[in-house]
Symmetry: C2
Subunit: 184 residues, 2 copies
């Protein structure tokens, strides 16, 4: 990739991060391009879809969540480890005004963005390890599926951003999930 191209790409990413954080999915790609100092054509060449742009932004976050998950595999309480990690996933999914949660909630269709599918798979693999460990420990019912659990956590994260004034909503809703009951 040419140096000027990489430069533009990064300027777009910076502008997009700011715009998504402020306006969520309603952010105008036009204005992102403008505030990045490039033309619309340049933006669309680098990121053909809004999804591609988002995945490029959160790629590092996904890696961080996976690493945190790996660390938690060494936690003395498997159930506590799973809970902590799901809380972190939910917390991250609330960024960008719930745009991340909306995009990550369900497995992508086969013809969808490949990078998005990769993010999904990495999160799923990490969660699967944590869940199975918690299930072997007996603290979580065996019929719980990691895909469903992640979907539910993302749904909760999404809806929490719909009522931005209620800052404890996320935790209250998570507490309504089986296996995430508040500790006595």
């Amino acid at each position: 990739m040419r140096a000027d191209a990489r430069d533009n790409r990064e300027r777009v990413l910076r502008a997009a991060r700011a715009a998504f954080a402020e306006h969520g999915a309603q952010a105008s790609l036009n204005k992102i391009a403008q505030s990045a100092g490039v033309g619309p054509g340049t933006l669309y060449r680098h990121f053909p879809t809004l999804g591609a742009l988002l995945v490029a932004i959160i790629g590092d976050d996904v890696a961080a969540l996976c690493e945190k998950g790996r660390d938690l595999l060494g936690h003395p309480s498997p159930v506590e480890a799973l809970r902590t990690w799901l809380r972190a996933v939910a917390e991250h999914a609330t960024t960008m005004r719930g745009l991340v949660a909306a995009r990550m909630a369900v497995p992508p269709a086969p013809d969808d963005d490949a990078a998005l599918a990769a993010c999904h798979e990495r999160i799923r693999a990490t969660g699967s390890a944590l869940l199975e460990r918690a299930q072997r420990d007996g603290g979580v019912p065996g019929d719980v599926e990691i895909g469903d659990l992640l979907t539910l956590v993302n749904a909760i994260a999404w809806v929490s951003q719909q009522a931005p004034c209620d800052e404890y909503l996320l935790d209250r809703l998570l507490a309504l999930v089986r296996g995430m009951e508040p500790l006595p």
Copy 2:
């Protein structure tokens, strides 16, 4: 209201119902007006916002849900009654490609649509009666709040519509909620 005005209003509602069912929130109000055979101005005069249009469409459904809730207050098992009703709420919220769930998920802001707030309040009152009965019966923990429960149910309904090919997702996610465990 003049006869022609009422006529137009109902034609718009019919067209909107069809368009929302097909395209959800991405439905074009322009095309709704066109397929109803009226101009954009007419549509916007009757329904200034997308929310107003949606509330007008689902008004009857909300009444039906409340009536079903009242009937279920006579059910022999309070817990079963609550479960059945929440399942019905979720089922209804998945209509219009999740648009209903998205609009009903969290309490409306004070400056929001008055009709929407009324819908919210009616649903909440019905659910509250069912929940308190189930809590008195001892089948549901006392710390559960009806507002949170409805928000969670709507979030589940919304996310279920994000993966339209997985028809059992709604039930699997509901089963992950405390108090909605599958019966043995």
